[in-house]
Symmetry: C2
Subunit: 386 residues, 2 copies
């Protein structure tokens, strides 16, 4: 009897990463992490101010080519503030992929706005600009320079493409659409540090972009995130809003708006500085891993490895396989077999419109997202082989 698809996939993964237990994504601390943490502790500046925060922001800007980077407490906070600064107001709608991590939709809610879910494309797993344009032409109208949802009557203010697993969404087409419909584009590049789209870094393509440095990301600060922008006014506002909106003064406490305690502590930034130094190495290792998986999955039928979109370089944060439509009913069997073998895998996220808090939100037709939801599986993705 020939091995079943779950058995074949388990074997293919094990042929690359070895026998389990292997987790989905493990960080690696073999550079200056230790030295910088010690330096931070010895300085006693572990908290809301310190040189590592300044350095991490400068290093992020230098690496990505963004003119400004503002380090914050996590990617969700980065999105929240970016949406506010993009002009999202209570009662607005924001276009968000149905296929995303829940933070994208939650951040819209924190602004008092409603996510409006749209479809993805198979190539990048990101927002489908062609389908979105057709949807907006049908579902919205322009009135007084604003894009209005015909059904809800609400202003559609912004769109938030998310670069799934580090594969850049088709930002150029989405930027054209944003221009045509009068929308602000905020990139959710939480998963895409180091990915490029036509040579430019993810997170630097829209009005603002956001990054995450959670423990499972390509580089980690423990918990952390950043806002990227080329606009000095928005950068200054982002710093202000994320640091309790306190006005500078030698001693007085004046806060000129409702601000947030979203700053990244210096000790987390110390870790980030060391991790960022090693990013090029990590990206090489992740690309090598992708090559090894390509070889392992090449001859397997029923599933294929997700590659990078044309014109892009993915950071290959999370490797993913796509089951054929005919094999979609075996997804849970694949997840069970691989996890039982100690090889951690997981499905892509449950689509946002299925979650209780977002069940009643407006949405486009989602045929591709619904298909991907049944077929995408993430496989172990750490920076091995060393």
């Amino acid at each position: 009897m020939s091995p079943s698809l779950p058995q074949q996939i388990t074997a293919a993964i094990a042929s690359v990463v070895g026998a389990g237990p292997v987790c989905l994504h493990e960080p690696q601390f073999r550079g200056n992490e230790w030295a910088y943490l010690k330096e931070c502790l010895d300085s006693t500046f572990v908290s809301s101010v310190g040189k590592f925060v300044d350095r991490f922001e400068a290093d992020l800007a230098a690496y990505t080519g963004a003119k400004h980077a503002v380090a914050v407490v996590n990617g969700t906070a980065a999105l929240h503030i970016s949406l506010m600064l993009a002009g999202v107001q209570p009662g607005d709608e924001v276009l968000v992929p149905a296929l995303t991590f829940v933070a994208t939709a939650n951040a819209v809610r924190y602004c008092g706005a409603t996510p409006h879910f749209v479809d993805s494309e198979t190539k990048s797993l990101g927002m489908d600009a062609v389908a979105l344009r057709a949807h907006l032409e049908e579902a919205t109208e322009r009135r007084g320079g604003l894009c209005i949802n015909r059904t809800s009557g609400r202003v559609v203010r912004a769109l938030v493409p998310m670069h799934t697993f580090g594969h850049p969404a088709d930002v150029e087409s989405l930027l054209a659409l944003a221009r045509d419909f009068g929308l602000a584009l905020v990139e959710d590049a939480a998963e895409a540090l180091g990915s490029t789209y036509h040579g430019r870094y993810a997170g630097t393509l829209g009005l603002m972009g956001t990054l995450s440095f959670n423990g499972n990301k390509t580089i980690t600060t423990g918990g952390g995130g950043a806002i990227l922008t080329d606009d000095p006014v928005l950068a200054k506002r982002a710093k202000h809003l994320t640091t309790t909106a306190k006005l500078p003064h030698r001693w007085a406490f004046e806060h000129d708006e409702v601000g947030y305690n979203y700053r990244m502590p210096n000790i987390n930034a110390a870790l980030g500085c060391a991790q960022l130094e090693r990013l090029p190495e990590f990206l090489d290792a992740k690309r090598r891993l992708h090559g090894a998986y390509q070889a392992a999955f090449e001859s397997l039928s029923g599933a294929s490895l997700l590659g990078e979109p044309a014109g892009c370089r993915s950071n290959f944060w999370l490797q993913a396989i796509l089951l054929d439509e005919s094999a979609a009913d075996q997804r849970d069997a694949v997840l069970a077999a691989t996890n039982d073998a100690g090889l951690m895998t997981r499905p892509i996220w449950t689509l946002m419109h299925r979650l209780t808090p977002f069940r009643d939100c407006p949405r486009a037709e989602l045929p591709v997202a619904e298909s991907l939801e049944r077929r995408v599986i993430n496989i172990p993705s750490s920076t091995y082989p060393a």
Copy 2:
């Protein structure tokens, strides 16, 4: 010519802490901070899960006597979630001292509610229960079990006493008032870890209590906070809401409400575990420092050192002096003289109702808070002499 009040105060401070530069509050890392951080890094679990988070929560509960502790990203986040769980809804009002750090009022806003500012008492610098009762009797009425602001028509849902500089507010009287008016009491104990009120720890006296471990606090995690409660249902809800409201599952992503990314990273908790071990030592040092300041300020006329309220043990997080009414006009001269001498001092916070974002909020008469605002100065408060 005899020395001026600013000169005398500068000399009194210097006689205790030495010549400057001396900052207001510097953390101390001479215990297991180093060892735990290294252990955390070596484990690779630096982020959203890890044994230090569990241990820090258990240690906090054991220390304070709270049945449950939930570690979060900072004290502001702890307040936000506690207010939500105390039932604060959009459109409600929440009683908050006008004399507090801006986070107390901001957290109310994050719930879509309006802070309603009330007066403080001179002894503790905390919410004045007597004045508040008189205010509520005049300004509110009970309707259907709810406390309604007669002017605004809004439900007054909760009150948030804050333990200023670690001096416990008169929680017993405030709890009686909360019962009488049908309000939930959430303690803002951000500054009061280790302080006790009639033998019980600050943060464990109301429905929920919140702590902060910012870099300037008695113990620090870089950035961090915690929610304390005896209620297992609230504790479970707090953990759920602060960890994106994800339902437990081997691999699936189901989130059953709009959640928050408020968890404390494991690396910050590692620091917290080491710091908490040293808390008794820190409290001793701070009490010794208070004694030294008492001696230095005893014979000085025009200003007095703030002591602990009757029946309480303060953690003496920040030492403070109170200028006599007749010397209030010299406050800025004192601030300038001390800071110029390298001895960091600062005034108490600008009252909340003076800040642009809260200018139009309802408020009681605030004679004591207004007087304290002009007269309180914090003086260097680190855990020296060693």
